[in-house]
Symmetry: C2
Subunit: 236 residues, 2 copies
């Protein structure tokens, strides 16, 4: 299996980084090929802008997704985007490894989504969800957060974490065709003991060793919708 880990944490010695290192070691030890995009170490540029394109379809008015389509076809998209896209297309499994900032990914990683999930390759036209351009690949979030587990859930103060992660799990990863595995979550990380951190590392290692047993999350399938994307009648 070919594995890409997209890692985004501003502290090289962080526990989130330890999760990344553990994944490299565990999956590598199983004989998988592993590559890491360490966005902070790479000084990744997260800002989608006109500078991402060479010759433009429309030099006077930027519609980012439309220029992505042309830029990829014409081979004029920015080199840093192209390099990441190549890694993405190479991978069978992509792990996004990050600390939760505002119930979402840090801007650094959001800008990887914005720039690398290129229209015309990863999605476009009716190619999304199970028909997405990355269908056949799997993705997983591996994340750390400050909150405690009891703060998330149906009756809990922040509601279910999966609902907070919906624009990522469903709106981004499932949208481009990934089979999305349940996220690995390490709770309350800045405030817990070394022992508790070791426990999370052990849990993560077990998850990584049994990825094939993980049941993917459920998302819409295109066959449930008509040509104009209105829902088709269905049995409840």
């Amino acid at each position: 299996m070919k594995v890409l880990i997209v890692h985004a944490h501003p502290e090289a010695k962080s526990f989130t980084t330890a999760l990344c290192d553990l994944a490299v070691e565990t999956l590598g030890g199983q004989g998988h090929e592993v590559r890491v995009s360490d966005l902070y170490a790479m000084d990744w540029n997260p800002v989608a802008s006109a500078a991402d394109f060479g010759e433009r379809e429309d030099p006077d008015y930027l519609v980012y997704a439309l220029e992505q389509r042309r830029g990829i076809k014409a081979g004029t998209i920015a080199a840093d985007i192209h390099a990441e896209l190549d890694k993405l297309l190479w991978a069978d499994l992509v792990i996004f490894n990050f600390p939760i900032y505002w119930f979402s990914v840090p801007a650094m990683l959001k800008g990887w989504f914005d720039r690398v999930l290129v229209s015309g390759v990863c999605y476009g036209g009716k190619r999304f969800y199970d028909q997405g351009g990355l269908a056949g690949k799997r993705a997983m979030l591996s994340l750390t957060l400050g909150g405690r587990e009891h703060m998330f859930g149906e009756e809990a103060i922040h509601g279910p974490l999966e609902e907070m992660l919906r624009p990522i799990l469903r709106g981004t990863l499932a949208y481009v065709g990934f089979e999305v595995l349940p996220p690995f979550i390490a709770w309350h990380v800045p405030y817990i003991s070394q022992e508790a951190r070791q426990d999370f590392l052990r849990q993560y290692q077990q998850r990584l060793e049994c990825l094939d047993e993980a049941m993917p999350l459920s998302f819409p399938r295109m066959e449930q919708f008509d040509e104009r994307l209105y829902p088709l009648p269905h049995d409840r």
Copy 2:
């Protein structure tokens, strides 16, 4: 009323920019004071990093939120963050004006949340939701997207847009204490006629002229939870 518009679009001539300009004109015309943070024009840095702090609480290990707390107290937080925080604290109403990228804000704006919503000022300890540091202020999203309206809703292919926006509406804006007004949404923008765009501009103007009539969205209140943030019993 003092209004801050945080605007993030890579095309200065975009329809999203037209929405921003309309808000400046309409709210200014009503006698309100309006300031705009045009993040692309400012070349805003969206990346939370160690460089955001002068002297550090812990120079060897960065916990971003903890350094924010110290940096604000000590007056050593980066000048660009301080300038935005001052505008935020000045404002009675904050409008976030942006195109949807991946069912969320562009990285440029995500990085404004990450860096400007400083721990110790905007939230911290038990100060969140109705007890958040920005309680008493109002916020509204004004957004454009490529999707059509019928692609969003309970049975629709992407589900309700408000659920996709949950980490922003609830997890970010309500979390820091804002009273959150319903978002203004312009659908299918890259593909519609000039007339349809004019319609959206008229609708937006009406929304801006009647902001006091808008019913804020509902979110958790701290009195519903105990000291450890477990939910208190309640009548259903």
